[in-house]
């Protein structure tokens, strides 16, 4: 319902392409490839024990709860089985794991690709639509976006504004000519990843809730999420996987296994152009890092989507 109320308002403010009303931020590409943090110089977010016992502290705690328990607490905005903390380790605090303290001070940010300035709220809405495959995201002034913004602000509250902090995002992992090998990637996956994420990337559940997140299939991130880029997944994996053993894979292993994971089907890109994978590839994926969307691998078109 909110979409219909929302669309004309947005339409007046900025000219949007058709169907864009439900997509808060089309551009999921990286702002700029960040550099890795060295522990000594690393930014230290505040401790929970420093939280004040007032309305602000309570909202930070609400944001924390939403961040780590997203699927349960905001089911209407999460269309898959993920929580924010699956890709932002240590509750959004960990350097080189796209920490919130690294992201918050970088917004609002102009993005050439959609030719507009994106607010932090819009960035969070993008996470919901793509990484969480959540359909229409919570409104910018919704309790969910507010709580998550306040939590992010708190983690970044001693960080310099607009400065790129070491440890922001997922640092780039060098690759010679972006070369990867799906067969080698499958071997890495089988040996190191399947014990948690399952032989078919399906994750593992307790009851109806995922403990280890699914990496592909209907309950994983969709084809519009930043993580669908092989270079981004390689960076995440290199610095953060296997859990607690970050940095243990070689750069090549990280690229190979990232490509293997992202060669599997997942929910369709919600920006799908006129029902055409090819048109969507040209518009959104052709210049978005290294990815397999819309390409044919071993005779199969990748990016057809899964429900």
């Amino acid at each position: 319902m909110k979409v219909f109320l929302f669309a004309p308002v947005l339409g007046i403010l900025i000219s949007l392409p058709v169907l864009a009303a439900t997509i808060a931020m089309e551009d999921q590409s990286q702002l700029q490839a960040p550099v890795a943090a060295h522990p000594a110089s690393q930014f230290q977010p505040p401790l929970e024990s420093e939280l004040p016992d007032n309305a602000y502290g309570a909202l930070v705690r609400q944001g924390y709860a939403l961040f780590v328990d997203t699927k349960r607490l905001a089911p209407q905005f999460v269309g898959n089985g993920l929580n924010c903390s699956n890709c932002h380790l240590d509750q959004g605090r960990l350097a080189n794991s796209a920490p919130l303290w690294g992201a918050y001070p970088m917004y609002p940010a102009y993005r050439k690709k959609n030719d507009k300035v994106n607010t932090f709220a819009e960035r969070l809405q993008g996470c919901f639509q793509f990484s969480m495959n959540g359909g229409t995201p919570p409104a910018a002034d919704s309790p969910e976006i507010t709580a998550l913004s306040v939590y992010s602000y708190w983690l970044a509250s001693k960080a310099p504004l607009g400065a790129e902090l070491p440890g922001r995002g997922y640092p780039e992992v060098p690759s010679s000519a972006n070369a990867y090998d799906l067969t080698r990637g499958a071997e890495v996956y089988k040996g190191l990843c399947a014990v948690c994420h399952g032989a078919e990337g399906q994750g593992q559940k307790v009851g109806d809730s995922y403990v280890m997140p699914p990496l592909w299939g209907k309950d994983s991130y969709n084809w519009g999420a930043g993580m669908h880029r092989i270079n981004t997944a390689a960076s995440f994996i290199k610095y953060n996987m296997p859990l607690g053993q970050g940095g243990s894979l070689t750069d090549q292993q990280a690229w190979d296994v990232a490509a293997y994971v992202n060669s599997h089907e997942r929910p369709q890109d919600p920006r799908l152009v006129e029902g055409s994978v090819e048109k969507t590839r040209v518009k959104f994926h052709a210049n978005d890092g290294v990815n397999l969307y819309g390409q044919t691998v071993e005779g199969v078109l990748i990016g057809q989507g899964i429900r």
């Binding site: 924390y64 939403l66 780590v68 328990d69 349960r72 859990l243 607690g244």
Partner: protein, 216 residues
């Protein structure tokens, strides 16, 4: 804690039941294996298979059959060290291992205490358990062992309701290398990064997370 009396009474009951059904498939849990040295599980793990907290004998009831089978194989091979279990596991036949682990998996586990991810830790032990200590690459215990440590799949056993003495002994065994039968050193490197105080703390925390009736 389970009283000795309860264990003995339960054992006697199971022995009777065991012999009644023993014609079809040997009840290893109650009777032991067919070969010398294969003592019945019930002797140490209790009539209900819930362990013996005071002695640090672990709960087996409700644990995944695949996990239990791997442990018995690892006791045999020495990948997991235990002076008690090693000869015992060696005395079990393959068929007995399959049947006893299946039977144990089917026994009722204590009810889990519901614990959501959004619960914030209130002390340092809970911080390790629920959030981890990422400055030392220690993930939250619950990120692999599941919410409230109920266990996940066949590789990540339950911690909830295990005797604290058992959990401490295992963490110490991981630290010393006496136990090294985990996939890809997932547990070994974590245990080695924990302090003695943290080992005690997380063990006490998870042993308390169980619907099992606590008796003095």
């Amino acid at each position: 804690m389970i009283s000795l009396e309860r264990v003995l009474m339960g054992s006697a009951l199971l022995l009777i039941l065991g012999s009644a059904y023993g014609q079809e498939e040997r009840n290893v849990f109650a009777q032991g294996g067919s070969q010398p040295g294969a003592a019945p599980c019930v002797a140490c793990h209790g009539a209900d298979g819930l362990g013996l907290a005071v002695a640090g004998f672990p709960r087996l009831a409700g644990l995944p059959a695949g996990y239990l089978r791997k442990q018995l194989e690892d006791f045999k091979s020495g990948a997991r060290n235990s002076p008690v279990m090693q000869p015992l596991a060696k005395a079990l036949t393959e068929e007995e291992i399959v049947s006893v682990t299946r039977a144990l998996a089917a026994m009722p586990a204590p009810a889990a205490v519901p614990l959501h991810r959004s619960v914030m830790p209130v002390n340092t032990a809970q911080k390790i358990a629920l959030q981890g200590a990422w400055d030392r690459q220690i993930p939250a215990c619950v990120s692999c062992h599941g919410p409230a440590g109920v266990g996940v799949g066949e590789a990540f056993p339950p911690l909830a309701g295990q005797p604290a003495a058992y959990l401490v002994a295992q963490l110490n065994a991981w630290q010393s290398g006496a136990r090294h039968n985990d996939p890809n050193d997932l547990m070994g490197h974590i245990a080695k990064s924990l302090t003695a105080e943290e080992v005690q703390g997380v063990a006490a925390y998870f042993s308390s997370l169980s619907g099992q009736e606590v008796k003095p």
